[in-house]
Symmetry: C2
Subunit: 206 residues, 2 copies
């Protein structure tokens, strides 16, 4: 099958649809509509129908969407109908919270490696995963074939660390370091910086 070029912004909404659908499933629901999804998500029903129609016919006029079917379809599209191994770089507070987070597995991810450069942390266990020496990172990630990393190192060392991750074969980076990263075109980065998110909102406060 040739792949249609779907805008990034549409892909970006699918995880949010998936989250809402999974929640409905857990509440014992079986059928939903673009109207209901739209109300839950603050997105227009027309937008949701248009987004989903890019990938095929998932609902029937008048009967709505079968939640379980649509959930599975979106999981397939996003390639989270499998579990991706994830490396956490940096065993500080954020790395710790990520290693302990119980919600990843059912959403397509599991943390399998954690790295730090602090001798006091190396060798300790985070949620049954041994913290490894960051000196081993490039070799071990390559060997394990891991494609996804979460970066929680200080800003000063983030770019150097990312260069190593890219060499190791990482293609998707969730970056918690408060700095922009330069990566090759085949590598994706998403940014999480709570201060940036907060500053986004203070503009609108009195």
């Amino acid at each position: 099958m040739t792949q249609k070029l779907i805008p990034d912004i549409v892909i970006g909404r699918l995880p949010v649809y998936l989250r809402a659908l999974t929640r409905m499933l857990s509440q014992g629901r079986q059928v939903t509509s673009s109207q209901e999804l739209g109300e839950r998500l603050g997105i227009s029903a027309a937008q949701i129908r248009k987004d989903l129609s890019q990938f095929g016919e998932f609902g029937k006029q008048g009967t709505g969407y079968d939640i379980e079917f649509l959930t599975k379809k979106i999981q397939e599209i996003l390639k989270v109908n499998r579990v991706w191994d994830v490396a956490v770089i940096g065993a500080g507070d954020v790395g710790h919270a990520l290693a302990n987070y119980g919600g990843f597995h059912q959403r397509g991810f599991r943390v399998t490696q954690i790295y730090d450069n602090d001798p006091e942390k190396i060798g300790t266990d985070f949620n049954n995963i041994r913290v490894m020496d960051i000196q081993e990172m490039k070799k071990s990630i390559k060997k394990a074939g891991i494609k996804v990393a979460m970066l929680t190192v200080p800003a000063e060392v983030a770019q150097d660390t990312v260069n190593d991750l890219v060499e190791a074969g990482i293609e998707a980076i969730l970056n918690y370091a408060p700095v922009n990263l330069n990566v090759p075109q085949n590598v994706r980065v998403q940014y999480i910086d709570p201060a940036v998110h907060l500053q986004n909102m203070t503009y609108y406060l009195d």
Copy 2:
């Protein structure tokens, strides 16, 4: 001064510009250009000039931007030339990491209240802040006049908690609970959900 209506997407880029400028300052730099900023951030120089020109004339043709001046201007625009008190709701791993995060203060925020419903956590100290009973939340936030909250409670109780926060006068919510929130029009929400960010990238992996 009447306020021009600036698109949300422009406001959303300002914290990223600010972060890059602050970093340049800390590296001892004094002058930059839209070209240099653009290369650091993966945004076109023209876009940066256009964004900044919405707020006035901050640079001179040929001499670029004075970094300290531009930093102060963006801080004023984003209203982070002051420090906002922030309440953290939920004293789990994420709440703990947020309470401990040293980077907030210089970026306009300080955590002053933490709430949980767990008797074992209430009364303990997180980075010198006493964890309070969530039963006290509505009253204490209102009394302190806090406008900004970070929500780290389980998805099941997130909406009820947000309803209380809105009643208490909160107008900006950074939501770590993996669920969409319904809020009145005067309240802003930003979402952080690592699994959503990761799912955004797996689509593009092989």
